[in-house]
Each structure stands twice: as C-alpha cells, then as structure tokens.
C-alpha cells in the first residue's frame, strides 16, 4: 500500500507559524530577556550557582 504524501502546505504553515512566534515574541519583549541571559555568564548552566 502506498503511503499518503504529506501536503506541502503543512511545513509551509509550520514555518510561517514559527516566524510569527519569533516576531510576536520579540514585540512582547522576550528577545531582550533572551539577550540579557545570553550575555551574562549563566552560573547555573556552568555548575557554579
């Protein structure tokens, strides 16, 4: 039996959704939170704090 092909619209929709998430997240101010965490040494991540 042949498997059903995945409609191309599915990954396209998912990609657009991802881009929208990034834009909305940036507008909400999440990008700043991410940057602030990333530019300081994360003590928990390296096992100190």
């Amino acid at each position: 039996m042949r498997k059903k092909k995945l409609p191309i619209i599915v990954p396209i929709f998912s990609l657009i959704l991802g881009i929208l998430f990034i834009i909305l997240g940036a507008f909400r101010g999440e990008a700043i939170v991410v940057l602030n965490k990333a530019i300081r040494i994360c003590m928990e991540c390296i096992g100190i704090g």
Partner: protein, 293 residues
C-alpha cells in the same frame, strides 16, 4: 590484515559540516583567550543545536536555554520567541540539525569512533529509555522552571542547572580554568555536573549518541518535526525489497524502510549509503527542484 573501511563521501561531508558549524557557532576566539563571553547583538538569535551561551566562544543563544530564560523570568509565563526559533529550525530541517549542526552531537560521534572491546547497539529497556527525553522536556525544561520561583518571582533553569552536560563542557570547564574567581566558587553542583559529563562521555564510547537518544530535550522536539519538516526521507516502494540493510547500517537501529521519518532519526544518511537499490531518497529532491527552477 583487514582493510580499513573507506568513509563514504556523504559522511565526509557531514563531518566537515559538523566541524565547520561547531567552529562557526563558537567562533568568538577572544572569549577563550580572556575567559569572558561574547556580549554582542548576535546573541538575540538562537543557534539550531544545543550550544551553551556561556561558552566563551558562543556567538548565539541556546534554544533550550533561551526557552527556560523566558519561562523563569518574572514577565513571561510562556515563550513565543525561543519556541519560534525551534519551530523554524525544526520545520526546515527536523533532526538533521542533530546529525549535522549540533556541537555536542559531533563530540559524541567522535567519542564513538574510539575503539572498545564491545560496542552496544542498544541498552536493555531501550524503548522506555528513549521516552525519558520527553519526561525531561516536560518536567525539567517546562514545568519546573515555570512553576517554581523564588521570593522575587524568578525561577531556576532546571535542565541547564541539574542535567545539561553541554554547559559544563563548553562553559563550566573553560571558564573555571581561565577564571580564578570562578575556581574558588566551585562546589557540589559543579562536581555533580562534571560527573554527568563524565558518565555521558564514557557511555558515548560504548553506545552511539546516548545523550541524543535518551536525554536531549531539543532532539525530542526536533524529532516531532521529522514527520513534517521540509527535509524528510522517502522510501521508493518499487525499489525497496525490505532487506533490512538500512536498519543494520543505522547506528540508532531504526527500521528506515518502515519508518523513514522516525522521531529518532538524526538524518546522518548511513542508511542511504548502505542501500544498494537507492530506495531511500529525500522527500523534496533539491537537484530536481533546482533544475525545474
């Protein structure tokens, strides 16, 4: 004497891409020299693989670290930004990222090349063990950072703090070696994390990619995208004889002829190299597409 097996071209290309991408995403050389981290605007963006942003060389953010940074902050109870990056990367590539673009994946690949008396294809209770990464994703990456906060409302990045060996390897060890103040601050947590790293390294010599198989929450998410990403495998039913040679070649023991889009597949391409019939192809043929365009 047995002749040494030649590495297929696809695997040579993969190794080159892995090394190049690891160097690129950790290309801040000054950080290694001075024991400091990069503080520029590239860190607004996440890299596709698991790469600790506290590595002295890191130029971008870790997707899992960024996700937790948002969830543990006072302002946000969920994260769209980091999830957006993960969705975009996952949709474009699926777990090809694990196979080609993850620095910790490269390390595990290299460790597995170290000869050992007996290499294992799987561990007892393999199916159950492969489920652990989803528990880690749900509990340590999402629920605990979201729900447990201190008096000022800030939570802990539980996965990064208690589990992730990447932070220890890329950030903890180099920064402790390069920075005297950090050396004096190490305690039980550091010992715990170094122990996890050592266990991961030892297991990586015995079995192929144990961290990716059982622990990695990022791989767990990308695995879900394997079924819908632009980069997928397709089985040509007319060419496939179901001989199982693809499964034998697969170091993760995936029956590719049955499940070409398995959530465990890291798209290393070993199955394609092994299939003499050429029955495994990409769902979207880039060469054909380029010709058409």
């Amino acid at each position: 004497m047995a002749e040494k097996k030649k590495m297929p071209l696809r695997q040579k290309i993969r190794l080159f891409v892995q090394v190049a991408f690891t160097a690129l995403s950790n290309g801040y050389i000054k950080g290694f020299a001075e024991g400091k981290i990069y503080k520029g605007p590239i860190k607004y963006a996440c890299v596709p693989g698991l790469n600790c942003y506290s590595c002295p060389g890191a130029l971008g953010g870790c997707p899992i670290g960024s996700l937790q940074a948002t969830l543990t902050s006072r302002q946000f109870s969920f994260s769209l930004y980091a999830l957006g990056f993960i969705t975009v990367f996952g949709t474009l590539f699926g777990r090809l990222i694990c196979g080609f673009l993850c620095p910790f994946g490269l390390l595990q690949d290299l460790l597995f090349k170290i000869p050992f008396v007996k290499k294992l294809r799987s561990l007892p209770g393999e199916r159950f063990l492969r489920f652990i990464r989803y528990v880690i994703l749900a509990v340590f990456v999402i629920i605990l950072p979201m729900c447990i906060a201190d008096m000022v409302g800030v939570g802990d990045p539980w996965f990064c703090k208690y589990i992730c060996p990447v932070g220890t390897l890329e950030g903890g060890i180099p920064l402790v070696l390069l920075n005297k103040a950090m050396r004096s601050a190490i305690g039980f947590l550091y010992t715990w994390k170094v122990t996890i790293l050592i266990v991961t390294i030892v297991f990586s010599i015995l079995i192929y990619r144990p961290f990716c198989r059982y622990i990695c929450p990022l791989g767990a998410i990308y695995g879900l995208f394997n079924k819908i990403s632009f980069h997928r495998y397709r089985i040509d039913e007319e060419k496939c004889t179901k001989c199982g040679v693809c499964q034998k070649a697969c170091k993760l023991d995936i029956p590719v002829y049955e499940k070409p889009d398995s959530i465990d597949c890291i798209r290393c391409g070993a199955c394609k190299d092994a299939c003499a019939k050429g029955a495994i192809t990409d769902a979207i043929d880039i060469k054909k597409l380029a010709k058409r365009l």
